[in-house]
Each structure stands twice: as structure tokens, then as C-alpha cells.
């Protein structure tokens, strides 16, 4: 049956594209995915031969901002993705059918493509009270997730809800909202963010399709392609930080000149995401560029790491300076010492930065696990207490 399904090349041909245009399209896809041109042959092959891969997109405890973000993608545009690239066989946000017919579309997609479909999950899964805090078609979200995970070839956790529980898992996590990797024993590609950037979402799907393998992940399960750099390290306002020039109050003269927002609580120094490079909504801007600090929405437990307007006390990443508050004077001294000294300091700093980034990633993961364990312990204690009453 699969042989009858047109490949992307066949679809493009039917739409009147020439072979030359098709190859150009593949080249753009290669460039968009940040690959070497030697990968072109592989891409052409992938697009030429395959029917559209079946995709099941589940919705649990969510606000649907991930779906909304997804449809904002400018490259590729979403209609090309859902009509020409993928076969989006189930998504409550867009599909025509409701009720029984919707569930049947999902079940058919899973049954007919056992072991071959991509599972995209938006939202966390509440495990409290046997799962009655999120039910679809009379089933709990946990039941639905486990059934769907069974035959999935790849599983993507869209956004912070599915990746780390996000807002409903914030203290005191009333419904025991749980990220999906804790409930299924398969690898999960985490794409955190509230929401994730549109083009990051489409690029990750494209990556899986083109290369038939999941992108390389960091120790937390996030694709390195988009989550290996701190917002702070790639921020266009970074030179102001290095020079010790900070916004001290909203809409002050410094704000009107776009100085660093660190003192206004910016969490960019602790946040791994592509915002300051890939940017938002067709590479237009990102929170810091529009004057507000990063709230760290792609980091596990970020809701409990606030308040948002309290600046970070100190953070690793600067070998020479102990805290960012002293960076201004240090940087000024370096400048006075001349370009050579500054360059040498930069090299040392960069080397230390890399080492410390690794250490920090490990530390932040440990911290998150610890916090979660403590929360779980507390919850168990409360439940025990409740039973005694």
C-alpha cells in the first residue's frame, strides 16, 4: 500500500515543480537544518522515496501554545508541512473529525503504521487521583500516552509541559502533572520552551524525517542543535554586560539604549535556548530585544526559580569574575590593559566557559532531580497525613 503513496518528489512534481526546483528545495532544507552540503544526496533520497510519514499529535494538560507556535513556522511554512511533508493523522487542534471519528483516525494511524509513526506530545500527564484530571474520550491521558508510545518510531515532547511539567507542575503541583519521559521507557526528544520557537519545532521534525534518526541530544534529552547555547552567551546585548552597562529600572535611559537586562532579573545566563540566534516569528525579535528579561521558559522548574524580577546572585561562566555585579569594573580594567590582554583573557575565559557549561548542565540536572525528589517526598508525606485524618 505504501508504494502507492506519492513521495515528496512526486507531490512536488504533481504541483508543477521541476526536478531542478526540487533539488533546490532539498538544498534549502539542507541549509535550513544547518548541514554540510555533502548531506544533500541523503536529503534528496529521503524526500524522493518516502510516502508522507504518519504523525500522531496528542494533547494533554496544555494551553495549546505549542500548536499555535508550530503554525507560525516561516520555513517551512506549516501548510507545506501538514499537506506535503507529513501525514498529520491526529491532532485535536486542526483535524476535521470529532469524537469517535477522531479517535478512529488516531487508532487507524497507529495500527496501520505500527512501529513507524512519529508521536508528538503536547502537555503533561496528571497522574493524581488515577488520572481523572485529564480525560479524553473517557480515557485518562496516561492510558492514551502509553498506548500511543508503544508503536512509535520516535517520540517528541513538545514544549515545557511534556518535557518537564511546566506551569501545572509548579509548586504545589496540584494534579501531579508529570513529564512524559517519566511514564514511558523509550527515548524522548525534549523540545522545551513555553512555547518552543516555531522554526525549532519544524526543524526537529524535519531532522527526524531527513536523517531517520533522532538529533543528537544533550544529557537532558534536548537537541544540541538548538539547546547547547545559553541565551546570554549569544545575546546581542552581551557587550553591554561585558562592559558593565545595565538597565536599572524599566524604561530608564539605559533601557532606551538597550543595555543588559541582567539586573532586571533576566534569566538568560541560566537558560539554554536558541532565542537570541534563531529568534521568534520569522527571526524578528526575542524577549530581551523587546525590553523584557528572559524568564527561562525552556528550563526545567523555571516557574519555581523566580521571582522573575529578582536578579541572579551569581552564576558560573565567568572564570575571572566571581559575580556579574563586579564584571563592569573588571571589564574596564581589562580594556585599560590593552587589546592583547583582553584577547588573552577572552581565550582563557572561553575555555573555562566550555568546561563550566558542562559542569553546570550536570549540576542543574542534579538540582532539578533533587527538587523533584523533595517535592515527591513532600507529596507522599501530605497524602499519608491526609489518610490519618
Amino acid at each position: 500500500m505504501n508504494n502507492e503513496v506519492p513521495s515528496i518528489w512526486q507531490s512536488m512534481k504533481a504541483k508543477g515543480y521541476s526536478r531542478r526546483e526540487f533539488l533546490f528545495f532539498c538544498g534549502v532544507a539542507v541549509a535550513a537544518a544547518g548541514l554540510k552540503s555533502s548531506g544533500l544526496a541523503q536529503v534528496v533520497d529521503a524526500f524522493e522515496k518516502k510516502p508522507r510519514p504518519p504523525v500522531v499529535w496528542l494533547h494533554f494538560q496544555e494551553c495549546t501554545c505549542c500548536s499555535e507556535s508550530f503554525i507560525r513556522s516561516s520555513h517551512p511554512i506549516v501548510s507545506d508541512i501538514i499537506f506535503d511533508t507529513l501525514s498529520l493523522d491526529y491532532t485535536e487542534t486542526l483535524q476535521a473529525a470529532s469524537g469517535f471519528q477522531a479517535e478512529k483516525a488516531r487508532d487507524d494511524a497507529m495500527k496501520n503504521n505500527m512501529g513507524k509513526y512519529i508521536l508528538l506530545v503536547e502537555g503533561s500527564v496528571p497522574t493524581g487521583e488515577n488520572g481523572v484530571y485529564c480525560m479524553i474520550g473517557g480515557k485518562t491521558s496516561e492510558q492514551i500516552l502509553k498506548e500511543a508510545a508503544e508503536g512509535a518510531a520516535a517520540i517528541v515532547a513538545w514544549g515545557s509541559c511534556a518535557s518537564n511539567g511546566c506551569i501545572q507542575a509548579a509548586r504545589p503541583n496540584p494534579t501531579n502533572a508529570t513529564p512524559i519521559h517519566k511514564l514511558i521507557d523509550k527515548p524522548v526528544i525534549k523540545v522545551p520552551g513555553c512555547p518552543p520557537i516555531a522554526e525549532v519545532m519544524t526543524a526537529i521534525v524535519t531532522h527526524v524525517l531527513l536523517f531517520e534518526q533522532i538529533p543528537e541530544l544533550d544529557s537532558q534529552g534536548r537537541p544540541k542543535e538548538f539547546y547547547s547555547r545559553r541565551v546570554h552567551d549569544t545575546c546581542y546585548r552581551r557587550p553591554f554586560y561585558d562592559a558593565g552597562l545595565f538597565v536599572e529600572s524599566w524604561d530608564d535611559d539605559a533601557a532606551r539604549q538597550g543595555y543588559c537586562l541582567y539586573k532586571m532579573g533576566c534569566k538568560g545566563p541560566n537558560t539554554y535556548n536558541a532565542c537570541s540566534v534563531t529568534k521568534w516569528n520569522s527571526n524578528l525579535s526575542y524577549p530581551i530585544q523587546a525590553g523584557h528579561g528572559c524568564i527561562g521558559c525552556s528550563e526545567a522548574g523555571f516557574w519555581d526559580a523566580g521571582p522573575f524580577y529578582q536578579h541572579l546572585g551569581s552564576f558560573p561562566g565567568f572564570g575571572i569574575e566571581s559575580t556579574a555585579d563586579t564584571i563592569g569594573t573588571t571589564a574596564a580594567a581589562v580594556a585599560a590593559g590593552g587589546v592583547a590582554v583582553h584577547a588573552a583573557a577572552s581565550v582563557i575565559r572561553k575555555r573555562k566557559l566550555v568546561l563550566e557549561q558542562r559542569a553546570e548542565a550536570a549540576a542543574s540536572e542534579a538540582l532539578y532531580e533533587e527538587r523533584e525528589a523533595a517535592a515527591a517526598g513532600k507529596k507522599a508525606e501530605e497524602e499519608e497525613g491526609g489518610e490519618e485524618q
Partner: protein
């Protein structure tokens, strides 16, 4: 008699289940159930009130920004600060941007497939589609070749055997009435709107850094203006806003409105179906002279009872006798008994799931059957949303609102009573999109005028530091989300959130029955609806979609200890 269960209701935000009984081809009773809960109010306790906008914004990613706006207003009201005019203008611009985006996406991507038969478009004559398109609009993408290409693309898609989001749709259902050429037009514009919608939201990105979920700020807006620096909002960014506004007006006037009118013309029978409740509630929004002056709002505040447009009642969110929430059919319990309604300030909650253990086939609707509470205004069930806004504006004599409403009634050649229906609700959404697209330009022009006059201020500083706040204070933030009346109540103690409450549009519309057994808007609107085929609930989702359901924010947990909240005094 048959019992039909529709779960999940798709093409909405959140998780909604409808159970209906059908007798003699018509719905005789209906039950609406919200099946997901997260617990926002519990999570907000003890946090910095200045952070609340970011938390509550995550109540909904479809109507993103609206909760952030209600939240900053609630906090500003509590701590006693008003924002600079530039900040209010930018908030209004973001508000209108949200309406235009949200309503267009609703019409084309969440609602259109209830009216447009995609499969029928396959056999349309592209030349005839082109003729129709040119007769209703001067939108340039209207050549026969253009529609032929769309049709070829659709054919390739369907012939692939992989129907994706169109799989198992109700294609060929007798309730689809459009000529196949109009169906092809609908498919073409579905795709165009999908590509266009990502543009208009860039206004949020410019002022708020991203969309969905742009940033807000208590006391103003986070961005600054500077006409001498590239590192702030400067002429180039303002030019982009102007272009996006112009494009939005063009799209709304040349695509959305002509399509809406053309499609509505074939479904006039739906002007007599789905009317439901006869009461409408509006908090009002878009201040032209400050949030504290509701009389200056573009969308006026008020309530209408029994469809009597000659009288508009005042609405006071702070009066404890006006708004109450019931839980007789909701999975919660009250210390005062489940039959008493409580004002949100005195709200209390404890989860009390008494439904069937999943997996289950049917809810126990005679008991509790939803995670939504049931709000009432003076004990009346109220419909909220675009129709309510236009009716209250119409009844209050807003010239701008009267103009678009009367114009549409004339075009469709229907009386004003036609508004009280599924079709009326869907039309009202389009008409207020026209208005908000126009208002975008008005607010933008005023912003430019302010900057020209040397007023660059975007933030009021004096109440930023919590040390400047009283030990205890409280406030209310009223707004109009695209889906209807939205309010946040906050109580602050020792600079932390003591209590936070949200009563949102879909709670008004989608809630279960109240203690007196009175139905809310969804349930009432389904009564008498004809259903041609029990297996294909097209008519049910048509009416439900006319409300634009948005369930994630409709479900909350109130004060877990059941403490009484104190009344707050606001202006």
C-alpha cells in the same frame, strides 16, 4: 431516543465533551463537560504579584495575552497605579492584534470545515470559482489558474490515500450546502489564512518579544521607544507595525468578510438554530481615556436580559450579589453545601471527583459531570463573546458597532433577530474583526502622535518596588478575551499573592447546569438542533464551534483550604 457522545470535540483549545440525547432527529437535551484541570489558583499562592501575568498568560496559548492583560490590570488596581498613555495604546494594539489573529484562525481553521466540504471542492470548476471570487472581492489571488493549482494540490493530497487532518471528516453530509465552487474557494483561503496568520502576530513580537505568550509588565509595557537608537522600538519597527496593520485590514476586508458573507448566504437556516440563552454579559474593553473610565471603552460594558435590546444593565464585578459560582454539577465541594453559589472573593474549592472511573462510556449527568464551575450573573445564565459584545454595543448606541451590524444584516437581508443564532455568533466574530482591524490603525496613529509630541514614557515607576505597597491590598482586572468576558481577582498580603481567582469566558458558556437546573450557553444552544445522522454529529460541533470553545482556561482550582476571601474595593 439515542444518546450521542462527542469526545473529543476537536478544532478547539482544550478538552471538551458533549453528550446529547436525540429524539425524532432533534436534540432534546445536552450536557457539556470540561475534562481537564490544572490548578492555577493554587499554584499562584505566595508568589510575587508582578509575576502573575506570566503564570496566568499560560492559561491559554490560543487567546494568548488576554490573561496577561487582565492580570496586570488586577495588580495595578490593587497597588494603585495607572499606566502611561503609550503603554495603554500598545496594550490596545496588542489586544486588537490578538482579536484579528484569533478570529481569522477560528473562522478558517477551527470553524470552516463545519461549513466547507473539502471533498466536494475536488470536482469544482476553477473558472467558476474564479468568477465567484472576483464578484465578491478584489483580492488579487483569484485567477482560474490559481484555483486550478489549489485543486490539483488537493487532488494529489486526497489521492495519496493519506488524508491527514481531513481523515474521517463528515464529507458529503447533507448539512453541507455550499456549491462545490465555493467549497474550493474556502479551501484556497484556508491555506492562505494559514500562511497569513503568522504575519499579524509579529506586532506582538515587536512589543512583547515573542508570540505566543509575549511579555507584559505591571505598571506599563516592557519595551521602550527611542528614535535615536536601534536598540529600542524605533521608526523601522513602527513602520513594520504600520505595514502589518495595513495588511491585516486588507486581509480582513478582502478575504475574511467577503467569505463570511458569501458562506453565510447559503446557511441562512442556521440563523434560526442554536440561539440558546437570551442573556448576554460584557465587561467591556479598549479604553480610549484610561482603564478606570469604562464609558470610554470601544466595547461598552453591560448586560442584556431576555434579548431586550432596549435596556442595558450595569455590571459590577465587585458586587458580591452579582457574580456567583455554583458547583452542584461540578467535581468540587463547598463547605456551605453544594447548592449555594459563592462570589469569587468568597470562593472555595476542594476537588471532589465523583464521576465514573476511566475508561468510561458515559458521564453520570444527573450528578456532577464537569471540571468547570457554573458562574451566574444575578443568578442568570449568561452568554459571553463576540455576539454579546456587539449586542451590548448596539443596544448602547455605539455608532461604529451599529454601522457594521446594520451593514451585515442588510447584505444578508435578514432581520436583527437573526443574530440570536449559531450563524449570528459566527457573523458577530467576523464583524468585530473588522472593527478591531480599524481600531488598530486608530491606536497606532495616536501612538505616533504622542511620540511626535515628545511623550516616550512606557512605564510608571513609583509603585514598582513592593515596599511601596500597603501590607494588604486587593484588585480586579476586567477585560474582554476574544471568547468573552474575562476577569481576574487578586488579594495581596505582605507583598505576596494571598489569593487569586480567574473567571473566564468558556466557564460562562461551557459550564454544566446550576443548582436550579438551568443550563448554560452550550447546553441551551443545542436544544432543538436538527441532527441528520446520529453517527456524524456535524450539527452539534457547528453550534459548539460558533462559541469558539477554549477550555484550558475555563477550569480552575479555587482556594484549597476553603477560606473565605475578602471583598475588595476597586474604582
Amino acid at each position: 431516543m439515542t444518546r450521542v457522545v462527542v469526545d473529543p470535540i476537536t478544532r478547539i483549545e482544550g478538552h471538551l465533551r458533549i453528550e446529547a440525547t436525540i429524539e425524532g432527529g432533534k436534540i432534546t437535551d445536552a450536557y457539556s463537560s470540561g475534562t481537564m484541570v490544572r490548578g492555577f489558583e493554587k499554584i499562584l499562592k505566595g508568589r510575587d504579584p508582578r509575576d502573575a501575568w506570566a503564570f496566568t498568560e499560560r492559561a491559554c496559548g490560543v487567546c494568548t495575552t488576554v490573561h496577561a492583560l487582565a492580570s496586570v490590570r488586577a495588580v495595578e488596581d490593587a497597588i494603585g497605579v495607572s499606566v502611561p498613555r503609550n503603554a495603554e495604546l500598545v496594550r490596545n494594539i496588542m489586544f486588537c492584534t490578538q482579536y484579528v489573529h484569533d478570529h481569522v484562525v477560528h473562522f478558517y481553521h477551527l470553524h470552516a470545515l463545519d461549513w466547507v466540504d473539502v471533498v466536494s471542492a475536488l470536482s469544482a470548476d476553477p473558472v467558476e470559482t474564479s468568477n465567484i471570487a472576483k464578484s465578491i472581492s478584489n483580492w488579487p489571488k483569484s485567477s482560474p489558474k490559481y484555483f486550478a493549482d489549489i485543486q490539483t494540490r488537493l487532488k494529489t493530497f486526497v489521492e495519496s490515500g493519506q488524508l491527514g487532518i481531513f481523515a474521517n471528516g463528515y464529507w458529503g453530509h447533507p448539512a453541507y450546502k455550499l456549491p462545490k465552487e465555493v467549497n474550493l474557494l474556502g479551501v484556497a483561503h484556508y491555506l492562505e489564512a494559514l500562511e497569513w496568520q503568522k504575519e499579524i502576530v509579529k506586532i506582538h513580537t515587536i512589543f512583547g518579544g515573542k508570540n505566543p505568550h509575549p511579555n507584559y509588565l505591571v505598571g506599563g509595557i516592557p519595551c521602550s521607544f527611542n528614535l535615536e537608537d536601534v536598540n529600542a522600538i524605533n521608526t523601522e519597527k513602527l513602520n513594520l507595525v504600520a505595514k502589518l496593520i495595513k495588511d491585516a485590514q486588507t486581509f480582513v476586508e478582502q478575504v475574511y468578510i467577503p467569505d463570511l458573507m458569501a458562506i453565510a448566504g447559503f446557511y441562512k437556516d442556521w440563523a434560526a438554530i442554536g440561539g440558546g440563552l437570551k442573556n448576554y454579559l460584557v465587561y467591556g474593553d479598549l479604553p480610549t481615556k484610561g482603564y478606570g473610565f469604562p464609558d470610554s471603552y470601544k466595547f461598552p460594558r453591560g448586560a442584556i436580559l431576555n434579548r431586550d435590546l432596549s435596556k442595558v444593565y450595569d455590571v459590577n464585578g465587585k458586587d458580591e450579589n452579582e457574580i456567583k459560582e455554583y458547583i452542584s454539577h461540578s467535581w468540587y465541594k463547598y463547605s456551605v453545601g453544594d447548592k449555594t453559589g459563592l462570589h469569587p472573593w468568597k470562593g472555595e474549592t476542594e476537588f471532589n471527583f465523583t464521576g465514573p472511573q476511566p475508561p468510561f462510556e458515559q458521564l453520570q449527568v444527573e450528578n456532577k459531570y464537569s471540571w468547570l464551575k457554573t458562574p451566574r450573573w444575578k443568578d442568570n445564565p449568561m452568554e459571553v463573546g463576540p455576539l454579546a459584545r456587539l449586542l451590548v454595543g448596539y443596544a448602547k448606541g455605539s455608532e461604529e458597532i451599529k454601522e457594521v451590524v446594520d451593514g451585515a444584516l442588510k447584505t444578508l437581508d435578514v432581520p436583527v433577530e437573526a443574530l440570536f443564532s449559531t450563524l449570528g455568533r459566527t457573523a458577530a466574530r467576523g464583524l468585530e474583526t473588522r472593527l478591531t482591524a480599524r481600531w488598530l490603525k486608530e491606536f497606532y496613529d495616536e501612538l505616533i502622535l504622542n511620540l511626535k509630541g515628545g511623550d516616550f514614557s512606557t512605564f510608571t515607576r513609583e509603585k514598582w518596588e513592593p515596599e511601596t505597597w500597603p501590607t494588604e491590598c486587593q484588585g480586579v482586572g476586567l477585560s474582554e478575551a476574544p471568547r468573552g468576558a474575562l476577569a481576574h481577582w487578586i488579594r495581596i498580603k505582605d507583598r505576596k499573592i494571598e489569593n487569586y481567582q480567574l473567571v473566564v469566558p468558556s466557564t460562562w458558556n461551557a459550564s454544566p447546569r446550576d443548582a436550579a437546573g438551568k443550563r448554560s450557553a452550550y447546553e441551551e444552544s443545542l436544544l432543538e438542533t436538527p441532527v441528520a445522522n446520529d453517527e456524524q454529529p456535524l450539527e452539534i460541533i457547528r453550534t459548539i464551534h460558533s462559541f469558539d470553545p477554549c477550555l484550558a482556561c475555563a477550569v480552575h482550582v479555587y482556594d484549597p483550604e476553603g477560606k473565605h476571601l475578602h471583598q475588595v474595593t476597586v474604582n
